[in-house]
């Protein structure tokens, strides 16, 4: 049996909206994954460092402050810079459709917006991150 998936749920910048991040963290944990929640106000550098130290399979970043076009690309950049480009990187928040498309083009694998069913997020993580532990 493969080991449980290990996922970092992260909050970046100055954004204190942690309701969604906590719900996702719990849902992933209830789905049998090991979840590490970074807490608030992390820098992109810190998030990627945590993921590497924890040997994480995926990073889920939640942003509701409007800074998504700055912070998501910085995490992508850090993943590359720290040689961790194989970690699955996804996110969520109040992100307009045009920005979702642009972020995906820049290397964020998936963006979930408010109202996305938990089951859909869990399935995504199992499928994408599962490939790493299979």
């Amino acid at each position: 049996m493969p080991r449980p998936l290990r996922i970092i749920v992260a909050k970046a910048g100055l954004d204190g909206h942690d309701r969604g991040a906590k719900v996702i963290a719990r849902a992933l944990r209830d789905a049998g994954m090991e979840v590490i929640y970074t807490g608030l106000f992390q820098t992109p550098e810190q998030i990627v460092q945590t993921a590497i130290q924890e040997d994480a399979d995926g990073i889920g970043l939640s942003i509701l402050s409007g800074a998504h076009m700055t912070l998501f690309p910085l995490v992508v950049e850090q993943l590359k810079a720290q040689g961790a480009g194989d970690i699955v990187f996804f996110g969520g928040g109040t992100i307009p459709p045009d920005d979702v498309a642009e972020l995906k083009r820049l290397g964020v694998q998936e963006i979930f917006t408010p109202g996305a069913p938990l089951s859909e997020i869990i399935e995504f993580v199992k499928r994408e991150c599962g490939a790493r532990v299979a």
Binding site: V9, G13, L14, D15, G16, H17, D18, R19, A21, K22, V23, A25, R26, A27, V35, Y37, T38, G39, L40, F41, S65, G66, A67, H68, M69, T70, L71, T94, P96, P97, T113, P114, G115, P117, L118, S119
Partner: protein
């Protein structure tokens, strides 16, 4: 009143005081034969959105222990269940106050002129994240955040720009800021005084509710204890020098947005309020000297009756505690005055026009609950900052409510309803249970440090998310009645040029001011931070007048107080 219909009181000629026992039994057995509807949204018919159990029908026996004099009384009288004014909206409508702020001070100033020209009564400042967290626009932590969620205010120069052409003596201003609230207040006072308006003429509210930051909104700077000292200093300063200013707006709004239930919002908010009252009393102030300047800020969510009862219960609980527990003698100290905002978390990104309807119901609940002022959310706020068009619709929603529906003509029109009174009682009872739990921790700060509130809220929000997942509850357009192709709506975007422009502006303020004066005022501030008998407010006003930036002032205070870090739980 004229006789409406000329017929006997009841068809079989029974006396008016009959007990309806036959009818009751008939209803009971018919009700038991009913089949509860099935399918999406039917899993929660027996409870409120906050999981308070509901019966299908409420009747006189539900109010057996209800005491009209004790529990209801009259509007404008203790315990104010029916409202704080004798005639409520007949004498004066609520204040329509739309929260606004984005980009830089110049842009926001233009929006304020627009809102005032369209009949809004007061201003409400939304600050951006760096300002709320005590960072200047050119700080590393500010990248990507400048002007996004609100307006960037780094120094007095920005505050002057924000109120350019606005008579600060004529309007009231609400400022939603907490960690650096004392600095924002200092900037507001300094901006007014530069126009020749004395501080005693300024009316408005500053949120300054730091306790709910640790509980829910997470915009803190210092640890709780020094933050409480700052708040007590503000309370004292306003008592002595700004008689028209509301010193703290104790807020349940963000607690609810963080995922709490209605009862948690009610109980945690009032517990915070009582903690400020206790802090003021402990600092040697007479409760009646500062309590009338405390105000409250609640969420109006989509569960219509639960919200109305929450507002009614809040007034009654507050009055009882203020009079009985804290010994306040001035009736104004017993009155819970509150602002309401419709629930941002009830709005959906899907089919955003539907939010107009949600907001209208939520606004109606706030008015039936007796609010003193109201912000109605714009339909697109869940996606981005609202456009001018959607802000106008939101304001018109309040105007229709105020001028067309006639719900303003009768005070507390739902008072006396078996259901409303029962649910109001139940919410008060559950809130009191929470007060007992908080007491067991040793108080609000201790309960924060133990992660009690944070855990309770996380549990509630997860339960709610699960109920959407199972479709026990339905959100139209989200987990039922979805539309495949969503129509795009216009969004207001804040460009990166705002960040660059604001960073340049704060740098030029630093270059053009008298640096020696800045250093001297900051040094005096730090000394005052170490001296609990000094009041920080005059020192902050000196710093601001020397054009010390918010970030510099915060850094100076952090050197004394340190920064708070949370033990994150999920």
């Amino acid at each position: 009143m004229a006789k409406l219909i000329d017929r006997p009181a009841s068809t079989d000629g029974a006396k008016p005081d009959q007990d309806f026992s036959t009818e009751r039994q008939r209803w009971e057995s018919a009700s038991a034969r009913g089949k509860q509807r099935k399918g999406p949204g039917s899993g929660a018919v027996d409870r409120t959105i906050s999981d308070i159990p509901l019966k299908a029908l409420y009747e006189p026996q539900d109010l057996e222990n209800f005491d009209l004099a004790r529990d209801l009384s009259y509007p404008g009288q203790y315990p104010f269940t029916r409202g704080i004014h004798p005639n409520m909206y007949r004498d004066r409508l609520w204040t329509m106050r739309q929260f606004a702020g984005f980009g830089n001070a110049k842009q926001t100033n233009e929006r304020y002129h627009f809102l005032l020209a369209h009949g809004q009564h007061g201003l409400s400042v939304a600050f951006d994240m760096p300002t709320l967290m005590g960072y200047d626009s050119d700080a590393g932590q500010a990248r990507g955040e400048v002007g996004k969620c609100g307006v960037a205010i780094d120094s007095l120069a920005d505050m002057e720009q924000l109120f350019d052409g606005i008579d600060m003596a004529d309007i009231t201003t609400s400022m939603t800021i907490n960690g650096p609230a004392s600095i924002a207040l200092a900037q507001y006072v300094a901006a007014a005084e530069k126009k020749g308006i004395p501080r005693k003429a300024l009316g408005g509210t500053i949120q300054a509710d730091i306790l709910k930051e640790y509980i829910a909104q997470k915009e803190w700077i210092f640890p709780p204890r020094p933050h409480m000292r700052i708040i007590v200093d503000m309370m004292r300063f306003c008592r002595d020098e700004m008689p028209k200013w509301n010193t703290i707006s104790i807020s349940g709004y963000h607690i609810r947005e963080a995922g709490s239930t209605a009862v948690q919002e009610l109980a945690f908010t009032l517990a915070d309020g009582f903690a400020y009252v206790e802090a003021g009393i402990k600092a040697g102030m007479d409760v009646d000297s500062f309590a009338p300047r405390l105000s409250y800020f609640f969420n109006s969510h989509i569960d219509f009756f639960e919200e109305i009862c929450k507002f009614r219960a809040a007034r009654r609980i507050y009055a009882r505690h203020m009079r009985e527990k804290y010994g306040a003698k001035d009736p104004r100290s017993w009155q819970l005055r509150f602002h309401t905002q419709t629930a941002g978390c009830s709005a959906t990104a899907q089919q955003p026009e539907n939010n107009i309807v949600r907001v209208a119901y939520e606004a109606l609940a706030a008015v039936l609950g007796g609010t003193q002022s109201l912000h109605t959310n714009s339909m697109d706020e869940v996606l981005a900052l609202p456009t001018e068009k959607s802000v106008e619709i939101a304001l018109r929603t309040q105007q229709i409510l105020a001028y067309e529906t006639n719900v303003t003509n009768v005070v507390d029109p739902l008072g006396g309803s078996y259901f409303i009174e029962s649910l109001t009682d139940e919410m008060e009872r559950e809130a009191e249970q929470y007060f007992d739990q908080i007491e067991q921790y040793g108080g609000v700060i201790e309960a924060i440090e133990a992660g009690f509130f944070q855990r309770e809220i996380a549990d509630a929000s997860y339960r709610y998310a699960r109920s959407l997942e199972t479709k026990d509850r339905i959100i139209v357009g989200v987990n039922h009645f979805q539309k495949e192709a969503e129509r795009e709506i216009d969004l207001l975007r804040i460009g990166e040029d705002i960040e660059r422009g604001q960073a340049n502006a704060v740098q030029s303020v630093r270059e053009s001011r008298d640096q020696a004066k800045v250093d001297a005022t900051l040094a005096r501030l730090k000394t005052a931070c170490d001296d609990p008998n000094d009041n920080l407010m005059p020192h902050l006003i000196d710093c601001v007048n020397a054009y010390a930036t918010e970030g510099e002032i915060v850094e100076a205070m952090v050197e004394v107080y340190g920064r708070y870090t949370e033990r994150a739980v999920f």
